[in-house]
């Protein structure tokens, strides 16, 4: 098991190195930082001085190592557009994205899993069939379209919910949360649903498919043949086994929720990292872009590791590793 973990950890490090290399190439070769800092008509001497100060006269691999070292300390330089340290900018924006993503993921799981179970247990019937059709719609509807549609109906036409920003927030140390105010929750509803719907539909269909699969297995039939109550058969035996692959997908989806929050944040002007990134692309604000790239990669890699650990927690067969897969003899 330790070997397994070590291998996963090693993979994670490799992925991070590759991404940081891409970020570095972007950082170093897209645009010309010296020109951006000094303007077009600086003298050659000035340019050389600034280039040396930035370490641009060193060989590329030295520069990459320095980039790595600084990145490891959270130092991605200053935003070209805003002139403030990138790390500071991102730290300000992280809470908004995390809270939106958590809300969306929670919604997708808390609604998607029970509905998936329901449609697996009661396969016929109007409710199950409509849910399945709706879930198809949820999967195929583009996020920005859904966002605009919701704004049109609930903000513009009905005027029930705000469509812009986070609303009132409360500071908990450096973390500004919208979870503690009514206004914050009201602002969360529309972007939260927009971000959640695709994931919800995915979770529903996945849970349903896995449940149907597991309910055909011998151990579920045996559980029935022992006269266990339906709740025990469905949840203790079937759902638990069905959740194995679901946990993986949900975990990986959490990464994409955070990454794809970008679109939702843009539609709803939600002041998160995604919006910051979208704005920095427009200005070719390379340090911000590079930092965002590394951060998202870190999120994905971390989530992958957590999913692996969750597997170990759920499945006793993995916990023992290959050491005691079977005790031979009768």
């Amino acid at each position: 098991m330790l070997l397994y973990l070590a291998r996963r950890l090693f993979q994670a490090v490799v992925v991070m190195l590759v991404v940081s290399l891409i970020a570095f190439v972007l950082f170093r070769f897209v645009g010309d930082p010296v020109t951006q800092m000094l303007g077009q008509d600086a003298t050659a001497a000035d340019r050389a001085r600034v280039a040396a100060a930035l370490g641009l006269d060193q060989p590329a691999y030295i520069q990459y190592l320095r980039f790595l070292e600084q990145a490891a300390h959270g130092d991605f330089g200053r935003s070209l557009k805003l002139g403030r340290p990138v790390a500071e900018l991102l730290a300000e924006r992280v809470p908004a994205t995390i809270e939106l993503s958590l809300f969306a993921a929670g919604l997708a799981i808390l609604v998607g899993v029970p509905l998936g179970v329901r449609t697996a247990i009661v396969r016929r019937g109007l409710v199950s069939r409509s849910l399945l059709t709706l879930s198809l719609v949820g999967i195929s509807l583009p996020t920005f379209f859904l966002g605009v549609l919701l704004i049109l109906v609930f903000s513009v036409t009905l005027g029930w919910l705000p469509s812009y920003g986070r609303g009132d927030t409360v500071a908990l140390g450096w973390w500004r949360t919208g979870f503690l105010t009514v206004d914050g929750w009201r602002h969360l509803v529309l972007p939260g649903i927009t971000l959640a719907l695709f994931q919800l539909a995915l979770v529903l269909r996945l849970v349903r498919a896995e449940m149907l699969e597991v309910m055909r297995t011998d151990f579920v039939k045996f559980a029935r043949a022992r006269g266990l109550k339906p709740a025990a058969v469905y949840f203790r035996h079937a759902l638990r086994n069905a959740l194995m692959p679901v946990v993986t997908i949900i975990g990986l989806q959490l990464g994409s929720i955070i990454a794809f929050a970008l679109i939702t944040e843009t539609v709803f002007q939600w002041p998160g990292m995604g919006l910051l990134f979208a704005q920095s692309v427009a200005f070719a604000d390379v340090p911000v872009m590079a930092a965002y790239l590394c951060l998202i990669a870190l999120v994905f890699v971390t989530i992958n590791l957590v999913v692996d650990l969750a597997y170990l927690a759920i499945d006793p067969r993995l916990r023992d590793g290959r050491l005691t897969t079977s005790v031979k003899g009768t």
């Binding site: 297995t217 011998d218 151990f219 039939k221 045996f222 559980a223 029935r224 043949a225 022992r226 006269g227 266990l228 109550k229 025990a232 203790r236 035996h237 638990r240 086994n241 759920i314 499945d315 006793p316 067969r317 023992d320 005691t324 897969t325 079977s326 005790v327 031979k328 003899g329 009768t330």
Partner: protein, 323 residues
């Protein structure tokens, strides 16, 4: 009155387009303390009979005729909730494949305790004691420690003992064992059959032992029911049937048993294949494969006729040659 009585049971698969009869006129009694072996080749309807008895036919299959009585009380037509209280509590089921019958994510103790507390008014602590006792009874060494192990930590034979312990958890009067040894090594098979015999005696249970292996039946069962294409073609005491099979299908099955030390290829396989339900030939379903068929065999399905202790559904049982 037998503990389990099956009377004229018929099972149909009903779809919008057609209705296929998969079991027809199944009648069988099993007394307390008795093992009845049910044999027949694949697709004969053995598992279907077991599923009908515990009320777990998979749609579109359903009981469309006859009656099943448990201790004198009809259980056909009971609602799902009532049926659930019979399953595991009064009729225990042993599954074929011990590798897939246990939930891999729960310890055997968790699965036992949950089954016990579902059926018997016991605290968890008492249920755990009973679970350990059951594991000991089914022959699992150091049961007090093994109870907290997961299924994958047991060998195939040991797992089958766990499956049997689970089937016994609610102290049922009737046990249906569907091919309990098919998935096991020959040496382990004998042990499991021994265990089954002992449990039947100690619990005074009625056991329906389903198998396609007449050798297993000869060793274990008090009585035999031979199934062919959804019907019982011959039934009676094991010794009587093994000594003198009257139905040509039974005789064919017996010739197919490899005897110990006999390394010749099995010459006497029955030629042809068993017809599927819904595609039965006219008259006797075995007719087209029968070495002793006569023109009148295609007239109508033969009704069972009594010969001493044995019931045979064949018009010409005297033409059958013994093994």
């Amino acid at each position: 009155m037998a503990l389990l009585e099956i009377r004229d049971l018929a099972v149909d698969f009903v779809t919008r387009r057609r209705r296929v009869r998969a079991l027809d006129g199944i009648s069988l009694d099993i007394d307390a303390g008795e093992i009845v072996g049910m044999v027949g080749e694949s697709g004969a309807g053995k598992s279907l009979t077991g599923a009908a008895v515990i009320g777990l036919l998979v749609p579109p299959g359903r009981i469309s005729g006859g009656e099943i009585r448990l201790d004198g009380q009809a259980i056909t037509g009971l609602g799902e909730a009532a049926m659930r209280r019979i399953r595991g509590r009064r009729i225990g089921t042993i599954f074929q494949d011990p590798l897939t019958a246990l939930n891999p994510l729960l310890t055997v103790g968790e699965q036992l305790v949950e089954t016990i507390t579902t059926h018997l008014p016991m605290s968890r602590a008492a249920a755990r004691k009973r679970a350990i006792a059951l594991l000991e009874e089914t022959g699992i060494p150091s049961a007090g420690r093994r109870i907290d192990h997961y299924p994958h930590q047991f060998s195939g034979g040991m797992r089958q003992r766990v499956v049997i312990a689970l089937a016994l958890a609610g102290d049922p009067q009737v046990i249906i064992a569907d091919e309990p040894t098919t998935a096991l090594d020959v040496s382990v098979q004998a042990q499991i059959l021994d265990l089954l015999r002992r449990l039947c005696r100690d619990h005074d249970a009625a056991v329906l032992l389903i198998t396609h292996d007449l050798g297993v039946v000869a060793e274990t069962a008090d009585r035999v029911a031979v199934m062919y294409a959804g019907r019982i073609v011959e039934t009676g005491p094991t010794a009587a049937i093994m000594g003198r099979p009257r139905h040509p299908y039974t005789a064919g099955l017996m010739r197919a048993i490899p005897t110990v030390g006999d390394l010749r290829p099995r010459l006497a396989q029955i030629g042809g294949a068993m017809p599927r339900p819904g595609a039965l030939p006219h008259g006797c379903a075995f007719g087209p494969r029968c070495p002793a068929a006569r023109p009148d065999c295609t007239a109508a399905a033969p009704v069972p006729i009594r010969h001493g202790d044995v019931l045979v559904a064949c018009r010409h049982p005297d033409l059958t040659e013994a093994a």
